[in-house]
């Protein structure tokens, strides 16, 4: 099996999708000759031509609205938003249109559009190249929200999304684009949407996380092991649909929960997880459910590592739940 970074794995998924299915098209700003600003679409235009790998004018509403039209008429578009921070000019197209086509047409029309976008901090990108807006999308009925944390998952989830029938917001942790290299299977394989991955098993506490926070949680879990605490790390992989069964199983076993995301705290996805646990696993809890999150401020440039949760903050939360 070839070793790939997440960037290479996503490129491989796109190439596989384009090869296997003539309905697949890739569109976005700079995705053609330039191969995307993160090089995720490198080589695709050369292989599949300008009609299937399209550079667009600078208008996200055009990219997403156009992708919707393509999907209505039978294509499978994969739209790239250069940074998720630039998705808002298309927010209306995503929330009012993409998410609702199937429902408002009583199932007559569907929009299997995949919206790929790098998200998250840690690359000195400042306010508009670092945000984590997953909660906006998770809050919108009709959208699936997928966030991989490993190269292999990135490929398998993207191919599963391509095989699916509904729109997917596919957020890529750009901080992990090139930091991890692992074996990734060749050809087509699907990582099912709606299943968590156990990044590390444990018995005493559960850390729920996704995307770029998964390695942070694993680091904290490793240092907790030195103190005799066995910490389970669940990588959610998909926020919608959520694998609530796996989440609740783990929480019922450990009785202690820390929820971790880099998005701001208020109304972040962690609030949904905490509510789920309060509703369905309250009697298993041995400590309050804690959240380690970004602060309720815009994303700073210089102080980004103050803003971003790190293993130290997760460890502090683990100490609290373990000693409660």
């Amino acid at each position: 099996m070839p070793q790939m970074t997440m960037v290479q794995a996503i490129t491989d998924a796109l190439r596989t999708g384009l090869r296997e299915d003539p309905r697949v098209v890739v569109l976005g700003e700079d995705v053609g000759l330039n191969g995307g600003v993160f090089r995720v679409t490198e080589g695709l235009q050369a292989e599949f031509g300008e009609a299937r790998v399209l550079d667009t004018p600078l208008a996200e509403n055009g990219i997403i609205g156009g992708a919707i039209g393509m999907a209505l008429y039978g294509l499978k578009p994969v739209a790239e938003i250069q940074f998720v921070d630039f998705i808002y000019p298309a927010f209306d197209q995503i929330v009012s249109e993409l998410a609702k086509f199937r429902w408002r047409s009583a199932g007559q029309y569907s929009c299997p559009v995949i919206v790929r976008a790098p998200y998250g901090g840690g690359i000195r990108g400042g306010l508009y190249h670092s945000q984590s807006p997953e909660a906006y999308f998770a809050h919108t009925a009709g959208l699936q929200v997928v966030i991989p944390s490993t190269p292999s998952d990135a490929k398998g989830l993207l191919l599963a999304a391509l095989a699916g029938e509904d729109p997917v917001i596919f957020l890529e942790p750009k901080r992990l684009y090139r930091t991890i290299k692992e074996d990734v299977a060749e050809g087509v394989f699907h990582t099912p949407i709606g299943r968590t991955r156990t990044a590390r098993s444990g018995e005493h506490a559960t850390v729920l996380c996704y995307g770029a926070m998964v390695p942070v949680a694993v680091e904290a879990a490793e240092s907790a092991a030195a103190r005799g605490w066995s910490v389970e790390v669940l990588d959610l992989r998909t926020l919608v649909p959520l694998d609530s069964g796996a989440v609740l199983d783990s929480v019922r076993r450990t009785g202690r929960v820390v929820i971790l995301h880099e998005a701001p705290r208020t109304c972040g996805y962690g609030a949904e997880l905490a509510a789920l646990i309060a509703e369905q696993a309250l009697t298993s809890l041995q400590a309050p459910v804690l959240r380690v999150t970004g602060y309720d401020t815009p994303f700073p440039y210089t102080l980004e590592h103050t803003y971003l949760p790190d293993a130290k903050r997760v460890t502090a939360a683990l100490e609290h739940v373990m000693s409660y």
């Binding site: 959240r291 602060y295 803003y307």
Partner: protein, 368 residues
């Protein structure tokens, strides 16, 4: 309103005057040139700082010095500027110091924006430069609205909205021009058409015969100017600004120029464009063109250039040294200005972040 798609020029490519020269005092002509020279030197020095890892990001305006400087010159200090990545030179012309600019690039405690924004996202209320986001196109509608406010309050302020050629595809570009013309606001929309939006060439951005012609769709006056011709830029912008000031409504200016470098320090333009095209524009260099004309008018000597270069290099060096001696902004700076008054929940978060920053234990219930 009509759109004139002919490219206005005062100097030809060789720096010879082919049309009447706008009325600009001699001392200003020299200052304008010095400013262009300093912009170019600044780009070189800052790019090298970036390569050394001393700043995180840089966006050059190399090749666009005349369009930046000439348009800035046509404004009054009281006018408002809604700009973006390529127009830092406008702020510098209006009084921003090199040190202030470099502090922003570093994002330190001396930065007017206290390290909140990525490098190059400079703005400063003292020079009426409005804080901008990276989201392309958004500032243009703000320029339109501010111009309406100025008109309503009977101020003689003109609002200048800058945009790139890529930005003319954004939804806000359309809204800005449409509203502005309907409301007859005192705004000027200035497009620096440097012919590239990262790797996307103008031909893939628009099928219009020019950028200027887009004004026709809104019933707006549109003009096209050789952006590498400082005198022509001054002439065309001045006319548009003074027309707006006098109640004559908005103008859309296309200033045709070329982005000589990469899109930014993160970009490698050799991946997507021909060296021959770069060479073609190298021969149309705006700084050299104006220099040739100044010399022919007896307004510039080798000694001037040598002196200016030495002065500017020294100013930049001193600004770097001084900016690099400043500390990072304090943790508190992340939490202020989210709201006028900090909500209690955010104050708790700040307390926690401060304790964590100092490595002290946070007592009581875990607040975050």
């Amino acid at each position: 309103m009509s759109v004139d798609e002919t490219l206005h020029q005062v100097l030809d490519v060789s720096g010879r005057a082919i049309a009447p020269v706008p009325d600009v005092p001699k001392e200003d002509l020299r200052r304008l040139h010095r400013h262009m020279v300093s912009m170019r030197l600044l780009d070189q020095r800052m790019l090298s700082l970036q390569r050394q890892g001393r700043i995180g990001f840089y966006g050059m305006a190399t090749g666009q010095e005349a369009t930046v400087t000439g348009s800035a010159y046509a404004l009054r200090a009281t006018d408002w500027v809604f700009h973006a990545l390529r127009e830092t030179g406008v702020c510098l012309w209006r009084g921003t110091t090199l040190e202030e600019f470099i502090c922003q690039l570093i994002g330190n405690a001396g930065d007017v924006l206290i390290g909140r924004q990525m490098p190059m996202h400079f703005s400063d209320r003292r020079v009426n430069s409005v804080a901008w986001s990276s989201v392309i196109g958004t500032q243009l509608v703000h320029a339109m609205g501010a111009a309406y406010a100025a008109k309503l309050q009977q101020h003689d302020t003109v609002c200048m909205g800058y945009i790139g050629d890529g930005g003319t595809s954004s939804p806000d570009f359309h809204a800005a021009l449409n509203f502005a013309q309907v409301w007859q606001v005192p705004a000027v929309f200035f497009c620096q058409n440097n012919q590239w939006a990262i790797s996307v060439p103008l031909s893939a951005q628009t099928a219009s015969s020019s950028i200027a012609i887009k004004a026709a769709a809104y019933g707006m006056r549109g003009v096209r100017v050789d952006g590498n011709d400082l005198l022509a830029v001054i002439q065309v912008t001045r006319e548009a600004v003074e027309r707006a000031r006098a109640g004559g409504g908005p103008t859309f200016i296309e200033s045709l120029t070329y982005r000589m470098g990469g899109h930014s320090s993160s970009d490698d333009p050799t991946r997507y464009r021909d060296a021959a095209q770069v060479q073609y524009w190298e021969e149309r260099d705006p700084v050299r063109r104006f220099e040739t004309w100044l010399r022919s008018e007896g307004l510039l000597t080798d000694a001037d250039l040598e002196q200016w270069t030495a002065e500017v290099q020294d100013e930049i060096s001193r600004a770097i040294t001084s900016a690099e001696s400043l500390p990072a902004p304090p943790i508190e700076s992340m939490f202020s200005d989210v709201y006028a008054q900090m909500p209690a929940a955010l104050a708790d978060q700040m307390k926690y972040a401060l304790a964590l920053g100092k490595g002290t234990h946070v007592e009581g219930a875990f607040p975050l």
